[in-house]
Amino acid sequence: MPVRMVESPTPSTSSGANPGQTCLQPCSLLSVGQTFSGTQNVSSPQKEEAWRVNVRIQGCDLNHGYLCGTMEALNVPMADTPVVTFWEGEIVDTKNYTFFTNKWKATSEVDIDHWTKFPSFSPLLSQVEVDGGKSLDLSNYQYIFMRWKEQYFVNVGSDCGLTIAGFYYVCFSCVDGSINGYYYDPNSSPFQKLELKTTNEGRSGFSFSSYELQ
């Protein structure tokens, strides 16, 4: 399983100021091999469009707030085959990452605009506006907030007519495993909504995935 290489500590990491903070409880539905499927709404002022999307978790390291997986978009008009990308996620556990992104052209205003679109975020809003949620303890919260950033295309070239320059604000419900997200990219239609639900794929037990990173 790939593990995120830790670079220089980001300003949003709180350096042990709150010893009482624990990392999130592992949630059985956010585990390696779990798949989700649903849609991404890519409507633009010109036309309505929605793609079917499948997501599979490939790696999960709660201690470091790291997640990774693949995302597959079907019925994309520009492409002949489903388009698969590999993404890496930051889990907003206020220990490794806070609600402020501080990168990818997302200002704190942009962050607040997106997080507030999740109803489950409203109780947290006031605290986040103050300090990005650094002092929040989310270990017992029934929702997990993340950012997913696609890193590269897996099965098509980057000239396929799609862009992965932006990233997703994601809210995962621990109770039923449903996922909601919003894609942010200053050069694309705003607030493209991602809605996924868990799928079972008829399996039981653990499943592992393996692939080469080139």
């Binding site: 890519v42 010109q46 036309k47 995302m71 520009m78 007519g161 862009t163 992965i164 694309s188 239609s189």
Partner: protein, 466 residues
């Protein structure tokens, strides 16, 4: 991920730039060959090697003598053992990328027993056995008129033949059958159940037998043109049997006129179809309305301006009506428009102006590394005293203006908010149909063991005229 909107716009532009580049490459070849508008229509057929003479490398070793012209064979000895046949193949197998192949054999002398034969064999055939006596071969034998195809026992087929007769053997790739002729008449056909390349083959087997072969250098006795016409006619009748709505062709022509912005022609066309007896109706809303009348008048005006070389007017109109199409100064469509302006200046002999214009504009386009070569072609116009005779002379032809007009037309179509499929800006339905037709033909050929002909529009159109 999301749609890459920048890419969408330039999908249209880059398509036309690629068309231009294709022309640029073939244009330089044309000038070298000094051919007038040589389509690569027949090149595919010419590319395949055809038999021209007999193969003298592989031989039965002593049972056949190929004469100096490499087109005749003699049997040298007396022995008549079944494994002492003098068999000779052509120097290469019959070509397959055509409707059919045919060759003839003339019996100069039937010798002692008249055991001559014409047929087809595969590579590595045992050249001491008559064609047809071994597997994967066919032979029409002169002494008994039987057809042998892989066994020692022949089947009733046609008449015997002897001295003075001309027999022919052919492969019809469309029907996958072999056919044989005697003195200009078809005597029979047989299924071609052998895969792989077939060599035209002739054989002699008794004292003083001598035959000569004709691979097309001389006219055939058999009327090959009539045969070809008959085969195509057969194909045509089966096509004619399929019924399509009478108004289908109207719809296609109409959508072509709409697509390319021929507003006036379209109006005349509509009038005519209504006043014809009986009036032709019902083809207007057949799902052909993808672009329908979107921006028809604007597109007509722009096409006229560009075809008249008035690029400045065209650009200012675009600026007024569809500014988003030329917003990005380094887009493919801007490249085409600015290059065309440059070309028009050269055409008008205003060379200094052209140079200034080029200096100002072309710099930007060096970012488009892919299309650097096209910009260079334009700049090269200044290098020649008589540019229209050079390898970049194609730029001065009307066809270049047409490319720009088509590109502008397509880019305007792409601004249509009702557009569902971006690629539909690029072609009219007529062209899409033709592309599909060509692709289907090629696929059909592939499934036919890669034998048979491809679809050639020119040939079909010319044939209809004769």
């Amino acid at each position: 991920m999301a749609n890459d909107s920048e890419q969408t716009q330039d999908l249209v532009g880059s398509y036309f730039l690629n068309l231009w580049r294709l022309k640029s490459k073939t244009a330089s070849k044309d000038v070298e060959m000094m051919n007038s508008d040589n389509e690569d229509e027949d090149m595919e057929e010419d590319d395949e090697p055809v038999p021209t003479e007999l193969d003298t490398v592989n031989s039965s070793g002593g049972f056949s003598i190929v004469l100096l012209d490499k087109l005749s064979v003699q049997y040298p000895s007396v022995s008549l053992h079944g494994h002492d046949v003098g068999v000779v193949q052509a120097n290469c197998p019959a070509p397959v990328k055509r409707l059919f192949y045919y060759f003839e054999m003339y019996v100069r002398s039937a010798g002692a027993k008249g055991t001559v034969a014409i047929g087809f064999t595969t590579e590595g055939f045992n050249l001491r056995r008559q064609p047809g006596w071994e597997a994967n071969s066919f032979g029409y034998h002169g002494d008994d008129g039987l057809l042998y195809r892989g066994q020692g026992k022949g089947e009733d087929f046609g008449p015997k033949y002897t001295t003075g007769d001309t027999v022919g053997g052919g492969i019809n790739y469309a029907s996958q059958k072999l056919f044989f002729t005697k003195n200009g008449q078809v005597v029979g056909t047989v299924e071609k159940d052998v895969k792989g390349r077939l060599y035209p083959t002739i054989a002699v087997h008794s004292q003083n037998e001598e035959v000569s072969v004709n691979f097309g250098k001389d006219p055939f006795l058999f009327d090959i043109k009539a045969y070809e016409a008959a085969q195509r006619a057969k194909q045509d009748t089966s096509i004619e049997k399929i019924s399509i709505p009478q108004t289908a062709s109207y719809g296609i022509v109409r959508s072509y006129l709409q697509h390319y912005g021929y507003e006036e022609t379209l109006n005349v066309f509509d009038e005519a179809s209504q006043t014809s007896v009986p009036p032709v109706t019902g083809f207007h809303d057949n799902g052909f309305n993808e672009h329908a009348m979107y921006a028809l008048t604007h597109r007509k005006i722009l096409r006229k301006l560009i075809m008249d070389g008035k690029i400045d007017d065209a650009i200012s109109n675009l600026h007024e009506w569809y500014p988003e199409t030329i917003q990005d100064d380094t887009s493919a469509i801007c490249l085409m428009l600015h290059c065309q302006k440059f070309i028009e200046l050269v055409r008008a002999g205003r060379l200094e102006e052209a140079m200034d214009y080029g200096k100002n504009r072309f710099e930007k386009f060096y970012n488009l590394k892919h299309y650097e070569d096209l910009v260079k072609d334009c700049a090269a116009l200044l290098a020649y005293e008589e540019p229209n005779k050079s390898t970049v002379g194609y730029l001065l032809e009307e066809s270049q203006r047409e490319k720009v007009a088509d590109a502008v037309n397509a880019i305007i179509l792409s601004t249509n908010p009702d557009l569902k499929d971006h690629k539909s800006c690029l072609h009219s339905y007529l062209e899409t149909l033709l592309r599909q037709l060509s692709a289907c033909f090629l696929q059909k050929r592939l499934l036919n063991g890669n034998q048979g002909e491809a679809f050639h529009l020119q040939r079909v159109l010319l044939a209809k005229n004769t």
